[in-house]
């Protein structure tokens, strides 16, 4: 299939929390080529595309950009940032700076986003659930899921479960299945339980600098209390931030997303995979596992380890994969975005999956089951397509239902 496959660009250094006033200097090397705007899946509905916004800010026209719809329409798919010939930080620098400026003005904010930020401040998760209930999902896992403060010894693997996999019912099912897979592989692991808090990717990219700093301080302190060889993490957004941003702020950990962790154990996993999937499979590269960290091969290797699997690709795959439209806190801005855009990116993506005629849309990001399952219904593909996390497909093949 003739899709564009440029080189993976490694994470670029740069100011993590620029103020809007720093943008003209940081974007001095912008050549106004427009690759960002042309690559942006939201560009056509932005009042000012990223290229134009950068130029206006360089010219001192801050207020026009800050009060436009542009700040809240970036979904942080990172296509622009990966392709930018001047290596500028667009979703990681320009947009958080714009959003911080909107917040600093004290204008009314979208209520779902405000609630998510307030909840994260109070409870360490955007859903507003009690931190004490963070490990409640483990009670019905069917296998032991030890809490690290209770095991009182070093463990091989600390599993940072993250917010959606801990609290959202659809994702809790997936977490239970991963626990069973880890158990079947004999992995010595533990979770943080009530001590775990949001890693803070959403808050950072939403421009809530103080909240991100608060979460980082706390997380580095908690992670520093325990002895483990590596961190296994279920959410790609948190994975990317813990892998690439925390070290620059004083927290260096050996961290792996589950696709990487399980792909490393493929030899051990393969003999346990018995059942053939019920239909052909197409895989959605999430932005954080794909463009942001370059894990294109491990998820595909895991899927291909399942006996009899027929893996087909969507028209936009790997580097050019289309975002689900939920990154950088826009998962809380669905209504705001829908009022301005013609369609939702998740709906467009599901149409691409349906066009492959695969019956299973495989994902590896906790945002996707609910986003794509909604999109499957909205686009009328309920008879044709089911959404399954790679963990679910592995567990099913292993007979760990």
């Amino acid at each position: 299939m003739g899709t564009l496959q440029p080189q993976i660009t490694p994470e670029k250094p740069g100011v993590i929390f620029p103020e809007i006033a720093q943008i003209p200097e940081l974007f001095r090397t912008c050549i106004q080529c427009g690759v960002c705007s042309g690559s942006c899946p939201m560009g056509e509905v932005m009042d000012f595309t990223p290229r134009k916004a950068a130029k206006m800010i360089a010219d001192g026209r801050f207020e026009e950009v800050v009060s436009s719809n542009t700040p809240w329409l970036c979904v942080a798919c990172h296509t622009c940032q990966v392709r930018c010939p001047s290596q500028l930080l667009i979703p990681d620098g320009l947009f958080p700076a714009l959003r911080s400026a909107v917040m600093a003005e004290g204008k009314p904010m979208e209520q779902d986003l405000q609630k998510a930020l307030q909840n994260t401040y109070l409870y360490g998760n955007p859903m507003g659930q009690s931190p004490r209930k963070r490990a409640e999902w483990t009670a019905t896992a069917g296998v032991p899921v030890p809490i690290i403060s209770q095991v009182k010894r070093p463990v091989e693997v600390l599993w940072v479960v993250e917010c959606y996999p801990s609290y959202e019912p659809r994702n809790q099912e997936i977490s239970r299945k991963l626990a069973r897979i880890l158990n079947a592989l004999g992995v010595d692991f533990a979770v943080l339980g009530h001590e775990e808090r949001c890693i803070g990717d959403c808050e950072w990219l939403a421009g809530e600098r103080g909240l991100f700093e608060m979460l980082i301080e706390r997380n580095i302190e908690i992670l520093g209390k325990y002895r483990f060889k590596e961190i296994l993490i279920t959410d790609p957004h948190a994975y990317r931030t813990l892998l690439n941003i925390y070290p620059r702020l004083g927290g260096t950990f050996r961290v792996k997303h589950y696709v990487q962790f399980l792909a490393e154990r493929a030899g051990q996993l393969k003999p346990l995979l018995k059942k053939k999937p019920s239909a052909a499979v197409t895989y959605h590269d999430s932005c954080c596992l794909g463009r942001k960290t370059g894990h294109y091969d491990e998820p595909r290797a895991l899927l291909q380890a399942i006996p009899g699997v027929n893996l087909v690709e969507m028209i936009q795959n790997r580097e050019s994969a289309l975002c689900c439209g939920g990154g950088a806190s826009t998962i809380y801005l669905d209504r705001y975005i829908q009022d301005r855009a013609k369609d939702r990116l998740a709906d467009r993506r599901v149409q691409q999956a349906a066009a492959t005629e695969a019956g299973i849309l495989a994902v590896a990001c906790p945002y996707e089951p609910s986003r794509f399952e909604d999109a499957v219904k909205i686009t009328g593909n309920e008879e044709k397509l089911v959404v399954r996390d790679i963990i679910e497909l592995l567990a099913e093949s292993m007979g760990l239902e």
Partner: protein, 256 residues
Amino acid sequence: MNIAVLAKQVPDLVEGVEIDASGKAVDPTSIRYILSEPDDHALEEALLLKERSQARVEVFSLETGEAREALFTALAKGADRAVTVQTGQESVPDSHTTAKLFASVLHASAFDLIFTGVRAIDDLDGSLGGLLAGYLGLPYVGLVRKVETSSDGGTVVVEKEYPGGYAAELEVRLPAVLGVQAAEQPPRYVPVSRLRQVMKAAKVEEETATAEGVEPLAVGRMYKPEEGKGATMLSGGPDEVARQIADILSERHLLR
């Protein structure tokens, strides 16, 4: 125009609430406190008035629970002064006592408007606004959702909700106490970095209050809602449950 906003700390239900060993009060070690939501709306309405008509906004909280953070948040949002009211009380006082305590502090001050949330989740003996207005001898309007100043400055026009989806505009002589149901817009967001700055730079003042002559509420027994005995739980798949519901309705002659 000078506005006082009374900000109350209430138990955060997200964290769950336990009854203490006496069976008459909430166990203070089981809870954390947050700002009562209607009080957050009262503050927002006061700040909107400040923006529209250069009012001065002062926020008062009883020194119970974790009031200081809510007061710093109010300062970060734009309040001009924040005060913790020292009461000498060990537990959270009831509404009558609270009204008397606030009356003793606000009595001597020249406030044109006193805003409270119209209710709090732990009001046991009536809502604060009406009781306070009684002690201060001022008019009270509850269920307020909008406040406009008038040109002469001696009155305000408030929009008050009534049952059945009705609302009325009332002209209220100042000074007055208003119980706010909801502000005209949702309470504003304070970025955490702004809150942290204010916590370093600003200060929360203290005042002392007394509540003589109030007979406190005596709680006989406090308990969680008890599970009813009459419920029948249906189980099975959707079709089976639907069949059972149809059978039950038909047994009771509710189906034709």
